[in-house]
């Protein structure tokens, strides 16, 4: 049987806006995923360490402090360094369009904007993880 999707939902940086992240966590849980929520004010180091410990398929990071161009690249870098560069990083928050494009360029799998419907959050994340798993399986066979 297909393994259920495990996802770590995290708030990095110093801002305390957790309304969105809690909606996302609940939406993913309602979509049948195993959701681990870190709570607020986590550092990139803490997030990546938890992701390894919990062996998740994806990390969903929410931040509304404006520090996304510092913290998200740092998380990607740590994921690579610590051997989980094959997992997905998904982000959410308030960010200008050009930053969204730049983040996708460097490897953030998706950016879920404000007002993404809860059901769409579930299907988007599931599609990303499943496509990723399929690719990994093909890659493993070759």
């Amino acid at each position: 049987m297909e393994q259920p999707i495990r996802i770590l939902v995290a708030k990095v940086g110093l801002d305390g806006h957790d309304r969105g992240v809690k909606v996302v966590a609940r939406a993913l849980r309602d979509a049948g995923m195993e959701v681990i929520y870190t709570g607020l004010h986590r550092t990139p180091e803490e997030v990546v360490a938890t992701a390894i410990q919990e062996d998740v398929d994806a990390i969903g990071v929410s931040l509304l402090s404006g520090a996304h161009m510092t913290l998200l690249p740092r998380i990607l870098e740590l994921m690579e360094e610590q051997g989980i560069g094959d997992r997905l990083l998904i982000a959410g928050g308030v960010m200008p369009d050009e930053d969204v494009a730049a983040l996708k360029q460097i490897g953030v799998a998706e950016i879920l904007g404000q007002d993404t419907p809860p059901a769409a959050i579930g299907t988007t994340v599931a599609a990303l993880v499943n496509r990723h798993r399929a690719r990994a399986a093909v890659g493993g066979a070759s």
């Binding site: 809690k22 909606v23 404006g66 510092t70 913290l71 308030v94 007002d115 419907p117 059901a119």
Partner: protein, 569 residues
Amino acid sequence: MTTGQLPLFDDDRRAAIAAEEAAWEAEELAAFLARQPEQRPGYVTRSRRPVRRVYTPADLGGTTFDDIGLPGRYPFTRGPYPTMYRGRTWTMRQIAGFGQAHETNARFRYLIEQGQTGLSVDFDMPTLMGLDSDDPRSLGEVGREGVAVDVIDDMRELFDGVDLEAISVSMTINPTAWILLAMYVAVAEERGCDLDRLSGTIQNDILKEYIAQKEWIYPIRPSLRIVRDTIVWSARHLARYNPINISGYHISEAGGDTVAEAAFTLANAVAYVEEVTAAGLDVDDFAPRLSFFFVSQADFFEEVAKFRAVRRAYARIMKERFGARKPESMRLRFHAQTAAASLTRPQPMNNIVRTAFQALAAVLGGAQSLHTNGLDEAYSIPTEFAMKMALRTQQIIAHETNVTNVVDPLGGSWYVETLTNELEAEIFRVLEKVDSLGGTVAAIEQGWFQRAEADFAYDVALRRASGEDVVVGVNRFVETGADAAQAVETHRLDPESERRQVARLRAVRAGRDATVVERTLKELAEVARDPAENLMPATLAAVKAQATMGEIVGALRDVFGTYVETPVF
């Protein structure tokens, strides 16, 4: 019994009106509905409160004239002052803050030039959380969402050329509010200001941080003590200053519905009043300086009724629960801000219109000061242009619509009065519930407020997704392709700002007398160990010695510990 204590409409008249309404329903209404049904099976407010098709005096029950009353008189339903905007227009207070102190200072001077009448400071996340700009956790956040303030030197520069006796200054700051208050007072002293002439506020509402905004440092009890100390100290030294701004805004933005916003805020107010009176202050010695902050959401009449209901509920609490005798202690004054979470990314110009209606609701609800959001805030902090548009929106309401000519113009509307009655009754039901849970602090510890917000927030997200709650440009009247882009220019922070602030802080550290800093911090920690002592004098000494925010916070962390939340979702 005075005339004012009699129901506005006696039983016989209400029964007669109800009978007439029943006849109308059977005749005109029934015939009309048979031809053309209503668009929805039922109608509700933003908070899911069912509303009737039409209201009459029959809905007012036993409401007396004294429940509604007159402005500037108990129970203050119609406003805290007898003349309201005829006497003085609300304070147009656009919040600003980014980069280094000198950059924000320039924005302040611009806003004053544009006709703004009060200043409001937004601080960056490290300042809000008590970290110095060179702390590793501050990386990427210095000056980002607000201005960076590390030491008194920054505070000096922030208000350079601003007359602190003439303009009121609001500082949106919570767990570190007492430190910034000390810096502000120290700068005012240096300039020879009369402290009793300083006006403005620090937000300093730590309880709603645990409930909603989530900026905290220490556990709840010592944090409450810090708030107590600022209120007690200000009551003795700052005659016109509001040492706390008890805030519903964040409760609403974090997901709370209208009653939650009003009731949780009053539950917090009750906890502060209990804390300060327990320290030996008479309620009338500090309550006149308590101030409030609420959101103004999109549901126009529900918001107007909320402002009226919360004023009346507060008056009754202060009089009946706390035995206040001065009318000023029972009179709720509030700052309002339009709802940031209602702003949309698609079709951003629509946000100007949304904000204007929300601002109008705040004005008709009797706000003392108002911040209108920038059209671009679903993208980033606002540009100068966006802030100017937001300020112009207020100026148009104040000077072109004539809504300011009459006090509480919606008073007496059967709908608005009924909503006001319902909201007030529900506020008191929530307060009873909080008391039954053991009070505000216990309810926070049980996650009760937090769960209520998360539930409503999720509900709203589902209703928006289903289209049940219409958001123009998002789930209705959606534009695709090039039209949808309607790109806005966003505020870009000078990337060198963070590096410059770190350098500046290090230069201050290198140039100050380290032994004095160390001594004042040690003394502050000593004072902190005795809960009966007031932290303010020792904090003033520390900031004057150029101790940094991070150092002061650190000194007390050793005494108080840190807060760890158990998150609920």
